[in-house]
Amino acid sequence: MKKTMKILSAAIVAGTMASSMVLTTAHADDMRIALVVKALGIGFFEAAAKGAEEAAAELGGVEIIYTGPTDTTAEGQIEVINSLIAQKVDAIAISANDQDALVPSLKKAMQRGITVISWDSGVAPEGRQMHLNPSSNPLIGNMIVKMAADHLPDGGDVAVLSASATATNQNIWIEEMNKVVGNYPGINVVSTVYGDDLSDKSYREAQGLMSSHADLKAIIAPTSVGIVAAAQAVSDAGKAGEILVTGLGLPSEMAAHVESGASKSFAIWNPIDLGYAATMISYNLAKGEAKAEAGGEIAMGRLGSVQLSDSLDGAMADPFVYDASNIDQFKEIF
């Protein structure tokens, strides 16, 4: 009796495995490009996968393997990379959970002739052929002031609500912004305050800006925490539409403020474009139609081409602008 039950259980276990294994079948496409993400089930990356499929459809003969671990761990991504190496895929485009930990596995992939690039979150230079940044510091610095200027045809006073005074990214973007502010006549940056990326502190700093600058026309917040707090402060003060809030934010968090009119537009990367560009670059590198070398250019289909720096990274495009016309589509994504 015991024995038969055990055999039965073995059959069940084996049956489960067998049935799960026929879920996917290999396709005989010309090229297989793996889009490896930090973890599955994240809206941002699902959108990137959509972009990758778009690129594959455009190219033809390309199979996209969209994969990643369940948790955002380096060891999970290594397992994934090992199985991709074993399958002899043509290219791996990865958004890394750790810039150092993946280097040995990705090196091995490159040794076996697999094209390796990183995008969004980079891998150390020795572990990839090139890295695709969604944008660049000068492009971001320009975009945040341009968005304010576009809605202020007569110019006016604008203030910056940043993260902490020591936040590297924000300081670089503000510096880049100050370099180009002269290109926007009438725009006058009157103050920079710091909300430390805390909602309540950012909210109070935004209130302070409104009370100390009577002619304030816009608040630029190049931080996703600050921009939401500023929009809230402006709405609460009943000044939605009078004082414009712009900067860098997430569509899901900003949708309500775009609707209320506190923010006309804001920017952040477009994940669909990012997945599209990563696929195009992988394809061109794997096909040998482009080379990853300093100063080189790689075509990215409808997005033009990317120029590589000395450290073999490049910027995809201007940050993507979100406004009333597209916010509903993207608020579901990230």
């Binding site: 009796m1 015991k2 495995m17 955002t72 761990t73 999970g76 290594i78 397992e79 074993a86 959970n97």
Partner: protein
């Protein structure tokens, strides 16, 4: 005081060959859980060969062993803990804390030898803390180790936040990335050596017998002169040390420490142990079973990976597997009871 022959204590010299086992040795082997696991393992091997042309390649298989070697090292110690009727769910968090401490030591300029010592000490300390709460204070281990699961990883998160430690010495990379010969990795060798050591410990020493006795009935074990608390304390320290060994291998393999390292491993390790035939209620289990279970889980993970089955499906599979192997023996027992009535 009339001693007759029949009441004399049985010594090896005069013990009669009693038919204490109703089945022939061959039948016993065939009906054993381990034999069943071997059959399943061969089945999965063949399925994998069928399903993917890339499976049967020495280098691919060698890469795939990393899926289970580190987890199995902990599973050996976990098997003993579960056999003794306890459980340790904090193992993956011990990895995180050990790795964080080693990363900190690297920033302070520690060399490879120093890192190993620090890693093992931190692991042993974590295990001793669990052991003290369970064996010393008599608290239920499931509650204690759920607590330390948050505690140990919490410390790692406080120290590291969203940052990472890297810059491990070159020689440290050998433990997780080194090859001993051809496709044989250092981790494989360590896996085999530890399997043998734990086999001897559980099946060939009085400590192992004591562990099984405690799992069957702690009160009886205590009255038989077994120092129950001490054995349990040692088992938790041992699990801490094995978690540290796994942490050393994993950190060496990654060359970097993040607080999310090895998150969720406790589930896979417990599944490995239970699939290996260890009774989740304690009292029985074997190391060979755990070894085969580890290989099975590694092969299934790799097989799924080759077919690009999303990791989420793998989690579902592990969950179902865990429930199945825990439920089956209980269902079998109930069915047999009903049939004998």
């Amino acid at each position: 005081m009339n001693h007759t022959d029949t009441t004399q204590p049985a010594t090896p010299a005069n013990r009669a060959p009693l038919p204490d086992r109703m089945r022939s040795p061959l039948l016993r082997v065939v009906a054993s859980w381990e034999f069943l696991l071997v059959v399943v393992a061969i089945g999965i091997f063949l399925l994998n060969m069928q399903a993917s042309p890339y499976f049967l390649d020495p280098w691919n298989l060698s890469d795939a062993t990393f899926n289970f070697t580190e987890k199995a090292m902990i599973a050996f110690a976990m098997a003993l803990v579960i056999i003794s009727g306890e459980i340790d769910l904090s193992v993956a968090s011990i990895i995180a804390l050990v790795s964080t401490c080693m990363g900190f030591a690297v920033q302070m300029g520690a060399d490879t030898g120093m890192l190993i010592v620090i890693g093992l000490l931190v692991g042993a300390a974590c295990g001793a803390f669990n052991g003290f709460l369970v064996a010393g204070l008599g608290l239920p281990s499931i509650v204690v180790t759920i607590g330390t699961l948050s505690l140990f990883r919490g410390i790692a998160y406080i120290v590291l936040g969203d940052k990472a430690y890297s810059g491990y010495p070159e020689s440290f990379a050998f433990f997780g990335q080194g090859y001993v010969w051809w496709v044989i990795t250092f981790e494989m060798v360590l896996f085999v050596v530890l399997a043998l050591l734990f086999y001897v410990l559980l099946h060939r020493t009085s400590f192992g017998r004591a562990t099984i006795a405690i799992g069957n009935n702690p009160t009886t074990a205590l009255f038989s002169g077994i120092r129950v608390s001490r054995v349990k304390f040692i088992l938790f320290v041992l699990t801490g040390i094995m978690s540290a060994v796994a942490a050393i291998c994993l950190t060496s393999r990654l060359g970097s420490t993040r607080p999310s390292i090895a998150v969720g491993w406790e589930l896979e390790i417990v599944t490995m142990v239970v699939l290996g035939g260890v009774n989740i209620l304690g009292g029985s289990g074997t190391i060979p079973g755990v070894v085969i279970a580890a290989i099975i889980m590694g092969m299934v993970t790799f097989g799924f990976g080759l077919l690009n089955v999303p990791g989420i499906v793998m989690s579902i599979f592990i969950g179902l597997l865990l429930i199945t192997v825990i439920a089956l023996p209980i269902i079998i027992r109930r069915t047999r009871l009903r049939m004998t009535r």
